[in-house]
Amino acid sequence: MTDQQLDCALDLMRRLPPQGIEKNLEDLIDLVPVMCEDLLASVDQPLKIAKDSRMNKDYLLCDYNRDGDSYRSPWSNEYDPPIEDGSVPSPKLRNLEKEANCAFDVYREQYFEGGISSCYFWDMGGEASFGFAGAILIKKTGDGRKGFKGSWDSIHVIEVQEKTAGRSAHYKLISTVMLWIVNNNEKSGTMDLGGSLSRQAEKDAPVTDLSSHIVNIGQMVEKMENNIRSTLDTIYFGRTRDIVNETRSIVALQDKARMDSVNKELFKALDDKNKKPVQ
């Protein structure tokens, strides 16, 4: 595989309809098998759900809790199907991971009122100071009311590096939200609106104890998700709608031109009025 091939694969994934993500990824891997690991690591896919039968709780699957063909549950810390020496976080990090899962469980309920969340941490950082990375995942599926089927997938990947003094840390967040909404009805036929947006953020924040990381990460993810939610609203329901209306106009184009010119005259008149000195 060449760098160029990976670039082309990623470019292709940005152009092909996201409605076919899973099939496209499978096909890409079949086409250039050596790219498999790189693709799975760089291309976000809709999150799949598995059940932790021992803890009787659902969890989300992604590349970050995968080892070979097995996935680790954040609730029991065990792999399914079981494997020898599956990669797990260090005991110190596992405690933090448990705390994160609790905290984000509450976050998820407050914002999503349902759905599933999972947090996976892994060790990183040099010998000089503590560092780790994590993935915070959330999935919510709509109830299909009014014939609209929708689903939301959040994938937040965070990198944390404590400064050598240990009083603060540097946080780097890359977030992707996938949003899918499909509707079939008599008047509009099929309307399938889907895809994802990605954003990044970085910050330094104070650290007093290990739990500070949960606070700092939580605040960062919350701010980021609110931001992306707002952008999704603008892009999905504003921008793409505008583009549809640019290919065909509901208002007769001649009337539109007349309206535009009337508006122009109006604004010019207001401007001139404002410019006149008061007598």
Partner: protein, 283 residues
């Protein structure tokens, strides 16, 4: 286990078929490098015809006429014709260019009076509703019936701002020329939008409809047909716009709230005290 060359060609074909409006060249270029074998790309090139004709690809003839590449205008190989100007042309799929333009030798048949009437009645409607339209009205006789096929296209490409959009619709009326009968009209409307700044968002939408048109004179049938096209297209576009409002106000809100019920951001310091999550971990 490696995939077979046939499977590689299938994958290349599927990718190219799915290229969003205005991005055919970029997708083919990516596929070419991923395939790494131009002989396989040649085998996949049958998909170029399929893609171009399915998408009602627009092409400007050297003398400025606007033409569409469709299966209704296909003569042979990569030769197509434009029914309005009665010119044939060779089409280059990768360059999106027309060359070797020539007059059609065959004279039009009886269906031409119907075709021309529809083409003529369509123009003011297109000028009113489509900012940059391309259209082609084809006429043929099949099984004793006249078949008029209307192909409409309008697109807006803005790759420097990472978006492209396209509307296409096809209206086919089949009828026998006797006055007092009804013709069957089948219509298809299709909208595709791609937005790709820091992401990949696409709208795929389509709708099929049917109706009947009473047959009398070419002029009258043409007016009625355009009236029906207008009715269906306005209804479809309005429904899309209404859906957008519903999606934003209902579906999206139900997926994730703007803010928690408390109407304020979460107090992450307080979360440690909450038992809810902890219970799950301590089982």
């Amino acid at each position: 286990m490696d995939v077979t060359p046939e499977e590689r060609v299938r994958i290349a074909t599927d990718f190219i078929k799915a290229a969003p409006p205005g991005e055919f060249k970029e997708v083919v270029s990516d596929v070419r490098i991923l395939l790494g074998d131009d002989s396989l790309l040649s085998k996949a090139s049958g998909v170029f015809y399929e893609y171009a004709t399915d998408q009602f690809t627009t092409v400007d003839l050297p003398d400025g006429e606007r033409a569409l590449v469709t299966k209704y205008g296909h003569i042979a190989d990569n030769t197509f014709f434009d029914p309005r100007s009665r010119k044939s042309f060779k089409y280059d799929y990768l360059k999106n260019e027309a060359r070797d333009v020539a007059e059609l030798e065959e004279s039009p048949g009886d269906e031409e009076k119907w075709r021309a009437a529809v083409d003529s009645a369509l123009k003011p409607y297109l000028d009113e509703c489509f900012p940059n339209h391309y259209s082609a009205v084809y006429g043929r006789v099949e099984g004793g019936e006249v078949v008029i096929t209307v192909c409409l296209e309008d697109h807006k490409y803005n790759p420097s701002n990472f978006w492209n959009g396209k509307w296409l619709s096809r209206w086919e009326l089949a009828f026998s020329e006797s006055e007092g009968t009804e013709g069957v009209m089948k219509g298809m409307m299709n909208v595709k939008v791609h937005y790709y700044e820091d992401g990949n968002v696409q709208l795929l939408s389509n709708k099929t409809v049917e109706d009947r048109v009473p047959i009398s004179t070419p002029g009258s049938v043409a007016e009625k047909l355009v009236g029906i096209i207008r009715k269906f297209e306005v209804e479809y576009q309005m429904a899309i716009n209404e859906n957008y409002t519903s999606m934003s106000n209902t579906t999206f809100k139900a997926l994730r709230r703007n803010l928690p019920v408390t109407q304020s951001l979460i107090d992450w310091h307080k979360l440690h005290g909450l038992q809810v999550g902890k219970d799950i971990m301590n089982r």
